[in-house]
């Protein structure tokens, strides 16, 4: 599961094989959405490499990083797709929605518009990910830039909670990629939400037959991700 080539040999040999069996990690595709400039890339970089770049660029189309985490004793490999928020990238990012397992809807607490746009992002995602509206999908709402002074905040926690309550009640996490507040928690909450939903669904596992219609299943269309772990 390591993305690092230098450990390839180790991965293949001996002891590690035993580990592989005992703790297979579940592969989850995570998509981060939100207006340009709310700090999507920063969230990802903070989470994956615990690094913050004050002067980061606009993301071009998409960026991609891997991260292994453990939640409630389960190992997960998150494939995080960070998207470009600018409108002109719309056609470039939407193809990546399909097959995702988790969606982070982000806004910046000092940017009211980005908060207002959450609904748009949500519906854009549902549309292009080919998820039936109304079905449950593990969304997480992330309010970034909590580090700004209170005077500059334009979106209150209560307001955000209210929005969540009206929109399928996804978990809300307020974060700061800059001072690393709640970033791990946000991704953790995301995975937990997924796991919870997965458990609730208890889909009959159709691993033995090749089932293409799986692509159409309510909230995940990837037929290639090992559903794993569940057994």
């Amino acid at each position: 599961m390591s993305g690092n080539n230098s450990t390839t040999v180790g991965t293949l040999r001996g002891g590690n094989l035993q580990n592989r069996n005992s703790q297979r990690s579940t592969l989850l595709k995570v998509v981060i959405l939100g207006d340009g400039g709310v700090g999507k890339s920063c969230l990802m970089n903070r989470f994956v490499s615990n690094h913050f770049d004050e002067h980061s660029f606009h993301t071009i189309g998409v960026e991609f990083l891997n991260k292994d985490i453990e939640i409630n004793g389960e190992a997960y490999t998150l494939q995080i797709w960070d998207t470009a928020g600018q409108e002109r990238f719309k056609t470039l990012r939407t193809p990546f929605y399909r097959g995702s397992d988790i969606c982070l809807l982000t806004y910046a607490v000092d940017d009211r518009t980005s908060f207002k746009n959450l609904a748009l992002w949500r519906s854009e995602f549902l549309y292009y990910a080919d998820v039936q509206e109304g079905s449950t999908f593990p969304f997480i709402v992330v309010g970034n830039k909590m580090d700004v002074p209170d005077s500059e905040k334009q979106v209150s926690t209560e307001e955000a909670q209210a929005w969540c309550a009206e929109n399928g009640d996804p978990p809300l996490v307020e974060t700061s990629a800059k001072d690393a507040t709640n970033v791990e928690a946000a991704f953790g909450a995301a995975v937990a939400a997924w796991a919870q939903l997965e458990a609730r669904l208890e889909r009959p596992l159709v691993e033995d037959t090749v089932d293409l219609s799986k692509q159409q299943s309510p909230h995940r269309s990837s037929c290639c991700m090992p559903v794993s772990g569940a057994e």
Binding site: G3, F57, I60, G61, F96, V210, L212
Partner: protein, 1176 residues
């Protein structure tokens, strides 16, 4: 064990011998390995194979199996060749289309001089054009020429036609000039004239009679004395003062003198004279000879010559020289010549004089010009009629009689050259409207008219006539340009005409159009957007070129219709339109562009391109965005319907792409920016994204089929993978070809699409791996179902499994090259250029991560499969291990069978797996077998198993270790190995041995102690011969065991192994009461047999016991191996030896012995031990 190995060797030696020979030198690092070892053979075999050195590219792989695919079409057929359609087939289509369209024109600056030369062509050589150019305006519906034509002649004849006729009849009877009528008899001319004027015989005869009786015409000889030079000097100063006298010899007294130019030998006069003929003198003579002199010379006979006399001085004229010019030598049209002067009897040159000589008649110039125009009209119509001259063919060549008539008319009426030209221009233009003439005629006239027009030599009336005619002609010219597509492409004649048209336009455009003249009336030029604008000729041409394009575009639209209302047909229709337009542009580039630029400096192709661009863009943008807009979801049921649409959509894309590229070549930098077609790809974004989505779906479906059809047999002898791998890779390859074809022009877009494609390929690879695994399992089950009757049911590694694994690995290894083939590096480079280096690196990192992710995930899949295979082998291996262990006797062959089992499976694996995967599975199998072994041992510890069970397993383990050559590999699973080894060794011993092993371990433990909680004991010991002397001195820091916080201790001496010393009486000390530091100080002498004395590993045990009321209780013990006891002579007293301090200890774990419930010895030992423990 060796015997087993050699037996295996014998089985396979014949085929391995060669390998071994080859491999020997390279096998040095296996030096510590038995040559008969199976692993050795495998390694040798592996090494003897040639390494694959060629780099793997997807293309290579693909083409290698193109042939294979050819016969393997059924996979593609299942989805209608979805990937091929968009990949190679699309590419082929496009290539064909490109060839049809022809190569792109080179940019201006790329043109070489040579090519420029070529464009000169022979267009200027306006030779005879005999073949008709049917295409020119032939089918122009704008005019009904046939209707007009009938009236036309009558109309033009209306005007005092008879008068003109008479004038001409008269003229041909009085022809002037030496050069005419040589070919044409008078009679011929008269006949011709009669026919041309359509005059009946009566009228003709009457006119002829009348004219015969008419006075001969009043003729003049116009002489211009221009200059003289090289005159002979007559004055003393070496110069002369010349003047010139002219006279007809028939009237020598009537002289015309020029002015006197003084002091020069090269005077310039430029004076005009009109020399009159004396009619009375000449007419009778002439008339009398009309009938009998052939080729009547007319006026020539009347005056023999003119004489030019140059004389000097004012009063006393001195003769310089003279020249005599016979009148018959003067051509009808007149001429300008240098004449030599001569003097009687003098041979010396006297100088030369330049004269212009021409005949003329006294006439009203306007009437004459009008007459002349009528004549042209009548004659030309006649010519056209009689000579059957096709349209656009007449290029100014008259028949001989017509030529004579025109010449005589113009000469006798004294028309100036420019008047003649103008008359031609006007009349030709008029006739051209009805019966188009060759444009080259006009081109020549236009050039001749330029100077007089520029210099204002024409009267206002003439100028007006000129522009009126020009207006008509321009319409024809422009119309021809507008209908340029009716010209046969590449036809030389057509090109000549076009060149002439452009020449005309160019000439006209250099003239200043009078303000009151609207050259381009709005009612004629409906296509000029602004009716009030008076465009220049050049602008008009540009508008016309555009209009031609617009009309052609509409023509195309009007003649091509989508076959149905489906999107598919709509797209096909659009593609067709673009192709037709493209063909037109190519024609423009190939045939006309250079000509337009050269002749009139109009970038024809560019002009057209831009005209078409607007329309194509508007048309295609709408349909593309509409169709793409409706493509957002995959409708699984309808996917097949949409597939073809997808193909067509991209054909349209590529057609537009080529169109856009053409524009980049044709147009200037600034012109491209506003062009919608340059961002054609934007319209297709959603389509591409959609296609990629469909592609994943289709790919998965096709992979299903590919796996289904796969027989898991090698595609051919040279490879170790089967059909589905090739099929799957074909899909990837086609996706790659599709992408390459797209040549997506936007870098950011390319980057994200590539990211998506790689991610998709990863998905497909994983799906393939999963399906392959199931397939392999199924296949193997089926294969081995037939063998199930065999007594031993065991999993045998099938080639199916090997192929499955190879297939997946093959796919895995192709992901990297494939990604590179997608143009990854180019994208990153381009990003670095257009963005920053840092951003480019981030993008590269993302792409690399996606690729690594893909390969890693697939590799993990492979390992999972290897694990599955190993797990399947586990039951059989377990059984063999078990059987081997159960048998007490080592002569059993179960180990041999295990190795055989392993060997046959590994041979299969080695033969069919590639090297990497073989290495991997070797490790996986080892892991599995060692795990099995561990489990086996562990599980059986609970049961009663004889020590031989374990010792057999132990031996098996060692065999296996050697078999797998684990020792050589440090990374192997050493931890488990050690655990098993230890357990097996322990449990494989005979009980006595085991007990003894226990004690030896105790010694080891004791020696490692620095301090003991049980205290320590001090002794001395010596061997004197076979006698063991022991002095027990004291014990210290004993642990209190009694309630009083002390103990009542004594030491008991034992010798181990107990059974060997059963006959020995063992001593013990006295009890030392209530003392934690008891002092014993007792010496014992223990006599031993020689055998006992020399026993290896024998041990003296000092058991410290607590003497209770009823029984004694074990406290702790200390061990002293015989090997550490000094051997002394009998003379050495024990007191003199060094004290030995032994740590006291005790142990709780005697697990092994506890399991031996049926073993008395063990039970006894344990009960003894437990009694020790109980007493604790």
């Amino acid at each position: 064990m060796l015997s087993i190995s050699s037996e295996i060797n014998r089985e396979s030696s014949s085929m391995d011998r060669e390998f071994r020979k080859k491999g020997n030198q390279r096998m040095m690092h296996f030096g510590n390995l038995d040559e008969s070892h199976p692993y050795y053979m495998i390694a040798a075999a592996r090494m003897s194979q040639k390494p694959e050195t060629k780099p793997v590219t997807v293309g290579r792989i693909y083409w290698k199996f193109a042939a294979f695919n050819f016969i393997h079409k059924r996979i593609q057929e299942t989805d209608g060749g979805f990937f091929e359609n968009l990949g190679t087939l699309l590419a082929e289509k496009v290539r064909a289309q490109e060839q049809q369209e022809g190569p792109l024109p080179k940019r201006k600056d790329e043109k070489t001089e040579e090519e420029e030369e070529e464009t000169e062509d022979d267009l200027s050589e306006e030779g005879t054009i005999e073949e008709p150019v049917e295409a020119l305006l032939e089918t122009d519906s704008d005019r009904d020429e046939n209707e007009h034509a009938t009236n036309f002649l009558a109309e033009s004849m209306g005007w005092n036609i008879e008068e003109l006729y008479a004038a001409l009849v008269f003229m041909i009877q009085h022809q002037i000039g030496y050069d005419v009528s040589k070919e044409c008899e008078l009679e011929t001319l008269l006949n011709y004239l009669q026919n041309a004027f359509k005059v009946d015989n009566d009228v003709h005869e009457r006119v002829l009679d009348e004219t015969r009786n008419m006075e001969p015409p009043e003729m003049h000889l116009n002489v211009e004395v221009i200059e003289a030079k090289e005159l002979v000097s007559k004055d003393s100063n070496g110069k002369s003062d010349p003047f010139c006298a002219l006279y007809l010899e028939s009237a020598p007294t009537r002289r015309y003198n020029t002015a006197v130019k003084t002091f020069t030998l090269s005077p310039v006069w430029e004076e005009h004279f009109e020399l009159d003929f004396d009619a009375a003198e000449t007419v009778p003579e002439k008339m009398s000879k009309v009938k009998d002199v052939k080729g009547v010379r007319g006026l020539v006979k009347l005056a023999k010559e003119i004489a030019v006399t140059a004389t000097t001085g004012s009063h006393d004229n001195e003769f310089i020289g003279r020249c005599r010019i016979p009148l018959k030598d003067i051509p009808t049209t007149g001429h300008t010549m240098w004449y030599s002067l001569e003097k009687k009897n003098k041979s010396k040159r006297r100088g030369v004089v330049k004269l212009r000589l021409a005949f003329s008649a006294e006439h009203n110039a306007q009437v004459a010009a009008q007459e002349y125009r009528h004549l042209i009209r009548v004659l030309l119509l006649h010519e056209i009629e009689t000579q059957k001259i096709e349209k656009y063919c007449w290029c100014g060549r008259w028949s001989a009689p017509a030529e004579v008539l025109l010449l005589q008319h113009s000469a006798q009426r004294g028309l100036l050259a420019r008047n003649v030209t103008l008359a031609q221009w006007i009349e030709y233009a008029r006739i051209h409207q009805e019966h188009p003439l060759n444009f080259t005629v006009f081109n020549k006239l236009a050039i001749d008219l330029l100077r007089p027009m520029e210099n204002g030599l024409f009267s206002p009336d003439e100028t007006k006539l000129f522009w009126d005619a020009t207006k008509k002609l321009l319409y024809s010219c422009l119309n021809s340009v507008r209908k340029i597509r009716r010209l046969p492409a590449g036809d030389k004649n057509a090109m000549t005409q076009l060149s002439a048209i452009l020449g005309i336009l160019s000439s006209i455009s250099s003239l200043k159009v009078p303000a009151d003249c609207n050259l381009f009336p709005a009612k004629m030029y409906s296509w000029f957007l602004d009716p009030d604008e008076a465009p220049s000729v050049l602008q008009a041409l540009e508008y016309t070129v555009e209009q031609g394009g617009v009309e052609w575009f509409e023509h195309i639209l009007n003649n091509n219709f989508p076959e149905s209302e489906s999107d598919e047909d709509a797209l096909k229709h659009h593609i067709k339109v673009i192709q037709l337009i493209r063909a037109d542009l190519q024609n423009a580039i190939d045939n006309y562009d250079k000509l337009f630029i050269k002749r009139i400096n109009l970038p024809y192709a560019r002009c057209l391109y831009m005209t078409y661009e607007k329309r194509i863009s508007d048309m295609c943008m709408i349909i593309t965005e509409d169709i793409c807009g409706r493509l957002k979801r995959i409708e699984i049921e309808n996917a097949d319907v949409e597939l073809n649409l997808g193909t067509t959509l991209f054909e349209l894309y590529l057609a537009l792409q080529r169109y856009a590229i053409l524009g980049q070549v044709l147009c200037a930098e600034g012109q491209l920016e506003g062009m919608k077609v340059q961002s054609y790809h934007e319209w297709f974004r959603a389509g591409v994204a959609h296609w990629l989505d469909i592609a994943v779906y289709k790919a998965l479906k096709r992979i299903d089929r590919a796996v289904e059809f796969d027989t898991l047999q090698a595609v051919d002898n040279s490879v170790q993978y089967s059909s589905s791998a090739v099929d799957t890779l074909t899909i990837f390859y086609q996706i790659k070809v599709f992408w390459t074809q797209l040549a997506w022009p936007d870098i950011e877009g390319s980057y994200t699409f590539i990211a998506k494609i790689i991610d998709d390929i990863c998905k497909c690879s994983i799906a393939y791996a999963d399906k392959m695994a199931k397939k392999a399992e199924l296949t193997t089950d089926l294969e081995q179902l037939s063998e199930s009757s065999v007594y031993e049911k065991k999993f045998v590694v099938s080639t199916a499994w090997c192929f499955a694994i190879n297939n997946i690995d093959y796919i895995r290894t192709s992901i990297g090259p494939l990604a590179n083939d997608l143009g990854l590096q180019n994208i990153v480079d381009a990003l670095a250029e257009s963005k920053t280096q840092e951003e480019a690196e981030r993008c590269q990192q993302t792409l690399q991560l996606i690729i690594d992710n893909a390969t890693d995930t697939v590799r993990n899949k492979i390992i999972e499969l290897l694990q599955v295979v190993a797990n399947k082998m586990a039951p059989a291996m377990n059984r063999y291990l078990m059987e081997g262990a159960e048998l007490i006797d080592t002569t059993s062959n179960s180990m041999e069978r295990l190795l055989q089992y392993l060997d046959s499976n590994l041979t299969t694996l080695h033969d069919y797996l590639n090297e990497d995967n073989f290495e991997r599975i070797l490790l996986v199998i080892w892991d599995t077998i060692s795990e099995s072994l561990f489990q086996l041992v562990h599980n059986n510890l609970e049961r009663r198993r004889p020590p031989s069970f374990y010792s057999n397993l132990h031996r098996s383990l060692h065999t296996l270790i050697r078999y797998f050559n684990i020792g050589a590999d440090e990374a192997a699973n050493v931890r488990v190995l050690e655990k098993i080894e230890h357990l097996l060794e322990l449990h494989g011993l005979e009980t006595a041995e085991l007990i003894h092993r226990y004690h030896q371990e105790r010694i080891k433990e004791q020696n490692e102690l620095d301090e003991s909680e049980y205290g320590q004991i001090t002794v001395k010991a010596q061997f004197v011969d076979n006698s063991l002397n022991i002095q027990i001195l004291n014990a210290r820091k004993l642990r209190p065991v009694d309630s009083n916080g002390s103990c009542d201790s004594y030491v008991k001496v034992k010798l181990l192994p107990e059974e060997k010393f059963a006959d020995v009486k063992l001593p013990k000390t006295h009890v030392q009461k209530e003392n934690l530091y008891p002092l014993f100080d007792e010496i014992f002498n223990i006599p031993l047999t020689n055998e006992q004395r020399n026993m290896e590993n024998a041990i003296v045990v000092f058991e410290l016991k607590d003497k209770d009321f009823l029984r004694s209780r074990f406290m702790a013990e200390a061990f002293l191996p015989f090997s550490e006891i000094a051997k002394t002579g009998s003379d050495q007293r024990i007191e003199s030896l060094e004290q030995i301090h032994l740590m006291l200890s005790r142990t709780d774990v005697i697990q092994a012995l506890e399991h031996r419930k049926g073993d008395n010895q063990a039970t006894e030992f344990l009960s003894k031990l437990s009694s020790k423990a109980e007493r604790k």
